[in-house]
């Protein structure tokens, strides 16, 4: 990002001065020698710089970034006199394993920029139907029992999409992190629940004061008030210093910059909550809690190129809000037959699970797609199965905004052409509407 450049230049000047003080370091001496022999390009990362030592950097040959959304989630972002920041997607095709690097984890911004919160001044209030309304400082929260839980976080905007050219375009609105924090049940016990409490309302501290109603049963089950993400403090674009993590639920429940929990008797159905409970199409009016079983192939995927015939692995991610992934199956013939894939690494409930299937490409056309079976015995549908189950036309699947359609967990096919080119395998449609479109 361009605004980081001045800071980086300043730092490089400082580190050049510092290098003089530590010239006895062999690594730095070597770096200095090579620098004098051949001046490095100004943008090159110096693997031996003090900057690299203090805060590790990736190779300059690795340049993957998040992909910026067309526009923010708001209808009129470009006309508001307030800070702007676009939403961004995770570059899934470039990633391996199950954890999403925090720097590449998707962010969806709702209506306002990212607040600059001093953690020493930030507090969390627990109020409403409790015996003791309490206010916690960050320091007090860090003194309470905590848990770490690896879990996926997905935006309702993810959807297989005939118009998308890459897997980032279809499924880039998700990531998987290790979240560390206080179980919300611990805080609710500190405050003491009153009879009749059935919901909590979580409120953010940003300009849009995002609020979301969460069933109390879920709050007591596995919801976290998280201050850590992948071993470090939650970053500003993910909710620094404190966010709600609601495992398996739609992304919008995971309130960032958390400042208040109010215990109440009924859901609020406030802003950001309406759309699922009233839509012009009654067929899509439904509860919107945890995600169903899902999976997607990230490699080979749209816009990639197989260089030659021969051995490959088909790999991707599987996940379910219903619990752990039990099995992933991969089809190379457009869903006529499926083979069981290997699960590579930890298989954790409500977490991304990496799978792969060894595959030999013989140069013929192939249609690659995967499906997930979760521990509840729920199977990821094809597009046709999904449409039939909900009695929706294909036009409705892609002509309804995702926030009214619900979780779009049908299978995404990738077509491998005889020349090795990989493209979107979904049949074209006349219209695709998108939450960021």
């Amino acid at each position: 990002m361009s605004h980081t450049k001045p800071g980086r230049r300043r730092f490089l000047k400082k580190s050049a001065a510092a290098a003089g003080l530590v010239a006895s370091s062999p690594a730095l001496a070597l770096a200095a020698a090579s620098a004098s022999a051949e001046a490095p390009a100004p943008t090159a990362v110096d693997n031996n710089s003090l900057e690299s030592v203090l805060y590790g950097q990736r190779s300059r040959f690795v340049t993957t970034t998040r992909e910026i959304e067309g526009r923010s989630h708001s209808r009129t972002p470009l006309t508001r006199p307030v800070p702007q920041r676009p939403s961004a997607r995770t570059p899934l095709a470039e990633l391996v394993g199950m954890i999403t690097p925090t720097s590449l984890h998707f962010t969806t911004q709702h209506y306002y920029g990212i607040p600059d919160i001093n953690p020493d001044e930030h507090t969390l209030m627990i109020e409403g139907m409790v015996e003791r309304p309490l206010v916690f400082t960050m320091d007090e929260l860090r003194r309470l029992p905590f848990v770490s839980r690896i879990g996926f976080l997905e935006c309702i905007g993810n959807r297989p999409n005939p118009r998308a050219t890459t897997v980032t375009g279809t499924h880039g609105r998700m990531g998987c992190s290790e979240w560390t924090g206080v179980p919300l049940s611990v805080l609710l016990q500190e405050a003491g629940l009153k009879n009749g409490a059935h919901w909590i309302i979580a409120e953010a501290a940003d300009g849009s004061r995002h609020t979301k109603s969460v069933p109390l049963a879920k709050a007591l089950d596995d919801v976290l008030v998280a201050y850590g993400q992948n071993g470090e403090p939650v970053r500003p674009d993910h909710g620094f210093p404190l966010r709600l993590v609601v495992p398996g639920f739609e992304g919008v429940y995971n309130v960032k910059w958390l400042r208040r929990i109010k215990v109440v008797d009924q859901p609020y159905l406030s802003f950001q909550e309406h759309s699922r409970f009233l839509t012009p199409n009654p067929k899509t009016q439904r509860d919107s809690y945890d995600f169903g079983p899902s999976s997607v192939i990230t490699r080979p995927s749209g816009s990639q190129q197989l260089p030659e015939t021969g051995p490959y692995v088909i790999t991707g991610l599987a996940w379910s809000g219903g619990g752990a992934v039990r099995r992933v199956e991969v089809s190379t013939d457009g869903g006529r037959t499926y083979q069981e894939a290997e699960l590579a690494g930890p298989v954790l409930p409500k977490a991304h699970t990496r799978f792969y299937l060894p595959w030999r490409w013989n140069g013929e056309e192939a249609m690659l797609q995967s499906r997930c079976l979760d521990e509840k015995g729920q199977l990821q549908p094809t597009e046709a199965e999904y449409a039939r189950y909900w009695n929706l036309t294909r036009g409705e699947l892609y002509g309804t905004i995702q926030s009214q359609l619900g979780h779009c967990n049908w299978q995404q096919p990738w077509k491998v052409d005889t020349d090795g080119k990989v493209t979107n395998g979904l049949a074209p449609t006349a219209v695709v509407v998108d939450v960021h479109g």
């Binding site: 309490l134 916690f136 409970f277 169903g292 905004i401």
Partner: protein, 184 residues
Amino acid sequence: MGRTFAFAAVMLAGASVLAQESQPPFGLGRPATAAELRDSLVGPDGEDLPDGSGTATDGKEVFSARGCTTCHGPTGTEGPSVSLVGGQVSTFSNYWPISHWPFAPSIWDYIHRVMPYDRPGLLTVDETYAVTAFLLYRNGIIGEDDVMDAGTLPTVQMPHRDDYKMPAPWTPDTRRGFEIVPAQ
């Protein structure tokens, strides 16, 4: 089954929390102040609406005096931001017209806590009642002289209230319907 028992255990733990004489296990956190609790979220029943009042006539003045017009135009329709008057819900937009909000107190809550985006919480209690009344009046839901306060606002019948499906209770073992169970 394991999940069911685990959930039951959580609920029992929750039930023990309900005892009148329950003690906080750790005793961390300070009591919230009266001022903090006064400035609360307001739910659909409007139970936590504070004392104060306003009418559409007052609200028209507040709307321009407090700069709502910068984004919403002189009468709430001219933009550049979304129109606050009329409008329809559609299957292809996130736009949610005010007249389609299910509960009038939620509109008060949103204006009071969130607006304007760059200075949330700017409006006083009375000003919020006034702007809420102005917008309800402009949408043909209340009369120009109707006084909105903690007593009247919750009784305002929103035109689309009955179109809403209230969310069902959640338990860990409920199937959600976003999944297709394989045919056996």
